[in-house]
């Protein structure tokens, strides 16, 4: 029974490691300027976690194989070093490892959260509401009109509750269902929730941030590769949560300007 346990466990441990080593199911290529730090951190952690996982499972398998009770079992032995050795080893190795991960990891975190947006970032407002994302560009006047929850009229595409009849700033606001941004230009995404908690997640962008009703949150990032990516909601928001997404269109600067003009004419 011990030998069988050891063999099965070894197979499980090795088979589990294969998709990790071969990146069979893995993160998509990073399209952001801050993402490489996250990816490096993940790779480092994977090496340590992978080592710990394999070492522990294979050690368990080996000990179970070797130390099953048998008729000819010798006297009971103790691990050299005893508990003291293990505790010291754990404190030093694991302690240092965890400290390293923690300290090194904060650089990636800081690059996302502790650096302010650049002054000429493109400002786009994102509104999350059951169950779609809508985006707003400030238009030619560079100003956003006010948000009036009582004026929301979704059947007529007034998702933000704008009041163009009474507010000049609102008249040139451009509301779209897709987030188009120019490549290699920093974007400041101002995040607003209409109803409940939602979240903004683009795996390729290595960006995830919750929308919190009542809080003015924002994230900033720069996308580097032209393409079409999915923004998906990751904070359970109700029955349509699974179908709450929008497309992130990263475009060349010219294409972006053409797109924005086209959208402005449709308002």
């Amino acid at each position: 029974m011990g030998k069988f346990f050891a063999v099965v466990l070894t197979i499980i441990a090795l088979v589990s490691a294969v998709p990790i080593v071969r990146h069979t199911w893995w993160m998509p290529p990073d399209i952001s300027t801050h993402g490489h730090a996250i990816d490096e951190q993940l790779t480092d952690t994977m090496a340590e976690a992978g080592f710990s996982f394999l070492a522990a499972q294979l050690l368990l398998a080996f000990f179970v194989w070797k130390f099953s009770e048998r008729k000819d079992s010798g006297p009971i032995k103790s691990l050299p070093g005893g508990a003291k050795g293990l505790v010291i080893a754990a404190l030093i190795l694991v302690g240092t490892e965890m400290l390293a991960l923690g300290v090194l990891g904060q650089k990636a975190w800081a690059s996302v959260y502790f650096t302010p947006a650049s002054p000429n970032a493109l400002h786009v407002q994102a509104q999350a509401g059951q169950f779609a994302f809508y985006f707003r560009y400030p238009g030619a006047d560079g100003k956003f009109g006010g948000l009036h929850p009582d004026k929301i009229d979704e059947g007529n595409q007034n998702y933000f509750g704008l009041d163009p009849a009474n507010e000049v700033e609102a008249r040139d606001d451009i509301v779209t269902g897709e987030l188009a941004i120019p490549a290699n230009r920093e974007v400041l995404l101002l995040m607003h929730s209409k109803d409940v908690g939602h979240s903004f997640y683009v795996p390729e962008l290595r960006m995830q941030q919750d929308f919190v009703p009542g809080l003015d949150l924002s994230v900033h990032f720069t996308a580097t590769k032209v393409g079409r990516y999915e923004i998906v909601c990751t904070q359970l928001c109700g029955l349509g949560h699974y179908n709450m997404k929008a497309y992130l269109n990263v475009m060349a600067q010219d294409d972006f300007e053409k797109w924005l003009k086209q959208k402005a004419s449709e308002q």
Partner: protein, 237 residues
């Protein structure tokens, strides 16, 4: 002489009874609904979040808050008798169907009678969620995955109910639940007609989802056709 008298009174009684029971009148009220001013631009609907529906429309459809036709006519106006109609209009056995297709409610507006069966069908590959925001009627909220059976519902009070799909925010509709059987929804061309009206004094109402309600009083004396028109004031925003 006496026999004649009895016969005539008999016929008169029968005729009166016939009129009281059957009474399908022969008067008609008809006309057109138009608007003045400039209506707000209808915007193209961005369906990119639902690719299975987006691809059903070669060019994006536009919002239907104000649907106009040639000659400044207005579609989707519910013209109906709001007062003066004979009581006790029983609901027809025939169901009214609304279909969700291409992430749109087809038709955009559904008019039906109190207690008439409403059938809701989903022809799309995505789930829809029907949420009539009823205030006087019972409010309910049902999801309809593709492949699930048609939803059958009834409303027991007169009300213009705003309807939304929770999953697709642009999908909006109205269920106009009416007490009377005399109603007409304007189509392209803005025309409406209310036939089979017995003689009487009626209040005709015209309801539009963006421009509100207007009323007019009309009296029918026999089998004439009275022509009336409604003119709504368009709003720029």
């Amino acid at each position: 002489m006496k026999v004649n008298h009895i016969l005539m009174s008999g016929i008169a009684v029968l005729a009166a009874a016939a009129m009281a029971v059957a009474a399908p009148g022969s008067g008609t009220v008809s006309g057109k609904v138009t608007y003045e001013g400039t209506p707000a631009k209808q915007k193209p609907i961005d369906m990119s979040k639902e690719p299975s529906c987006a691809k059903e429309h070669a060019t994006p459809i536009t919002t239907e808050g104000v649907v106009t036709g040639a000659g400044n006519t207005l579609e989707n106006v519910v013209v109906y008798i709001s007062a003066g109609a004979p009581d006790g209009a029983t609901a027809p056995a025939q169901a009214v169907t609304v279909t969700q297709k291409g992430c749109q409610y087809v038709p955009h507006l559904v008019a039906l009678q109190v207690n008439q069966e409403l059938k809701i069908v989903n022809e799309d590959q995505t789930s829809h969620n029907i949420h009539p925001l009823a205030k006087s009627n019972r409010e309910w909220n049902k999801s309809q995955p593709p492949g699930s059976p048609a939803i059958s519902e009834k409303f027991d009070k007169e009300e213009f109910i705003a309807v939304k799909c929770n999953i697709h925010p642009w999908m909006h509709s109205t269920f106009a639940v009416l007490k009377t059987s005399h109603y007409s929804v304007t189509a392209n061309g803005g025309a409406f007609t209310l036939p089979n009206l017995p003689p009487g004094k009626y209040t005709i109402s015209a309801w539009h989802e963006s421009y509100g309600t207007q009323t007019q009083d009309v009296t029918i004396t026999g089998s004439e056709t009275k022509s009336i028109s409604f003119v709504f004031k368009a709003k720029a925003y």
